[in-house]
Symmetry: C2
Subunit: 397 residues, 2 copies
């Protein structure tokens, strides 16, 4: 028998598929007693458990032969129609995906070849980097902060490069929490429209705003301008349940058709029961649910900011989010967030070091704190522990 | 504003992602009044509707904060443990996938580069061709019949090519219904082991045997021989519900780890509710359920064969399945299954023309009939209609 070697058997692509060291670190955060601000896990107290139990049972009894059978790749039509009304499009423009993560994978499949340039913010969503990397793109990055991407830097990149698409999270960015002001959205769109470029707008945190109202999405602005090149990603993960894995992409019919064909080869369709359950849960009382979610996250954000203001030593900077689930922290230059992570674990508190959010490296002194999962008391205690870990690290410098 | 062109925006890969003309044809099969033998849709009367309703409600009430939250990429541990016991491996060797379709996508991601050779039977599962094609492989094919792939042809190919993997469905092949005898399995494994090649064994129809017992899988034989190179794919789609999209891959830890990393980028994890529901449905009375499913499909297969024996004109050949869901039909040379399809639709009966199951073309006079969906009366009536359509076509020749 010939000796067997998996590394030789894998394709070259496989070398780009890897667990980030960070995901390995994060396993430590599941130790009992740890207060974790690492995962972007929605608040479990907001899950509609009882209602989901009742509605799942009713669906399976009355329409089990649909809920348990193969379904169309595009998605369950009543759910597509619900999304269409929510987002302000036609049902035919909606593709239901198995989480937004799948939409990112499909975008990679459809738009990226070996070496294709693709533009991301730095930092950007770690899962997007992970979804796109196997397709072998060349990442172009522009710095992003509390007001979104640096548009001067962006314009400079677009003068010499033509990315296959720009991947942006204009509202309550993951991980930075940044929010692009209206004027920045308009300028970005101008830059893109002049060049006929594709934008992928990830709006997973769309409804989690703390102010009076939502800013118009790039997608909405592009439609008003008659521009077809913005693909919009939305999700039920932050407003109903992430574990059901139901999200959606909205795109021009030509792009949607290609994404649908790619999805057919990827998982045939998103589970029918999940789509029917999400539809039943969302079709009544959705505005009231969103109000409640906003209130809960706003309270949690305030609890975290108050605790940070009390506990953090001089020289540590952190954002004051206007929505979403995250505070982004920058340690004094030269301090390592991974070193802090080791000390934090000893203090039984966890976060995500920032570097894996940078597609081309950097951000070693940054970290992300999610206030979504724990209650205000847990948040306060966690920030006390983090303050201790940080002061311990600073004492060494 | 620059004129916008989606075809220019897509990657080159996108040209390989397309709806087969057949999938478009199949939309016709959903017209009211049509008796369809086209889809491989499991018998809806076997779906555990009431039981699923009760168990889904219980799961959501008692463990809603797990069922609705993000979960581990590897899968829900109790389900991995159940699969491990079913298949005879350790839980750590099991990855839960969003249908077997996803496993095929992950295998493409991990093993295939542009131009990589990959070996398939001709015919083979259409969905596998569709999952692998976007990765740009070069398909090598060997003819397959009632006893599986032609092993002389296979050996000849392996003398000049080193495929990244062999994709095989040894038991009740889709679409041919073929069953590799034990001796053929052993010879295949010898050929593969001598060369240190990877085999992907798709065993979706594993439990749907009509005889006394199951033949050992390639995977089982490879484990007995101490050979690590067989990756095994199984599914709950044919034995519980396809719409829940819960399947699994079993592989050597090194391969499983890479597939898991690829899955993390593809959809993070398979929905938790679905995994917990499948576990609850399977953990009690599974052997009895499998017995019942085998009995129902055996009766349906007999109904189809009796009707075919009555209705089919001379010169038409069809397989006599020993398990699974399909009869494979070969029309007299020169007759086109697509032409028959048009006539069949006029007679309100449908099937799948065979050519899309051939990765490198051919099979224009073949077609697949699924007996899984309809009841015996529907099957008899459908075969009468198909006989009429076929006689009408033959009258023209």
């Amino acid at each position: 028998m010939k000796a067997f070697n998996w590394q030789e058997a894998f394709g070259e692509r496989a070398s780009r598929i890897r667990a980030s060291t960070i995901r390995e670190l994060l396993k430590l955060t599941q130790r009992p007693g740890i207060l974790s601000f690492a995962g972007g896990l929605p608040a479990p107290e907001l899950f509609p458990k009882e209602e989901a139990a009742e509605k799942a049972a009713a669906i399976l009894k009355a329409k089990g032969e649909v809920a348990l059978q193969y379904g169309p790749t595009e998605g369950y039509f009543p759910l597509r129609a619900f999304v269409a009304e929510w987002i302000g499009v036609r049902p035919e423009e909606v593709l239901i995906t198995t989480g937004s993560q799948q939409a990112l994978d499909l975008l990679g499949k459809v738009f990226l070849d070996e070496g294709s340039p693709v533009l991301l913010e730095a930092p950007s969503y770690m899962g997007a980097i992970q979804a796109l990397r196997p397709f072998g793109p060349r990442f172009l990055t522009v710095p992003a902060g509390e007001e979104g991407p640096d548009l001067d830097a962006l314009e400079e990149v677009l003068q010499r490069e033509r990315p296959r698409f720009l991947y942006l999270i204009p509202s309550f960015q993951n991980p930075s929490g940044g929010l692009m002001p209206l004027r920045a959205r308009e300028r970005l769109l101008e830059l893109v429209m002049e060049r006929g470029l594709v934008v992928v707008e990830d709006d997973a945190y769309r409804e989690l705003y703390f102010g009076e109202r939502r800013l118009p999405s790039l997608f909405e602005l592009s439609r008003e301008a008659g521009y077809p090149g913005v693909i919009y990603l939305g999700s039920f993960s932050k407003v109903l349940s992430p574990g059901l894995r139901v999200a959606f992409a909205v795109a021009h019919p030509e792009a949607l058709q290609k994404l649908t064909q790619a999805k057919q080869g990827s998982d045939l369709h998103t589970p029918m029961l999940n789509q029917m359950l999400v539809h039943e849960l969302a079709k009544e009382g959705f505005p009231e649910r969103l109000e409640r979610i906003r209130r809960v996250y706003r309270e949690k954000a305030e609890a975290m900011l108050q605790a940070l203001d009390r506990e953090m030593p001089q020289g540590v900077r952190y954002t004051r989010p206007q929505g979403g689930m995250f505070v982004w922290m920058t340690l004094p230059e030269g301090l390592s967030a991974e070193a802090l992570f080791q000390r934090a674990i000893e203090e039984n508190v966890a976060f995500v070091p920032g570097s894996p959010f940078f597609a081309n490296g950097g951000g070693e002194n940054t970290l992300r704190l999610s206030y979504a999962t724990l209650n205000p008391e847990g948040i306060a205690e966690g920030m006390r522990r983090l303050g201790r870990a940080l002061k311990g690290l600073l004492a060494l410098v």
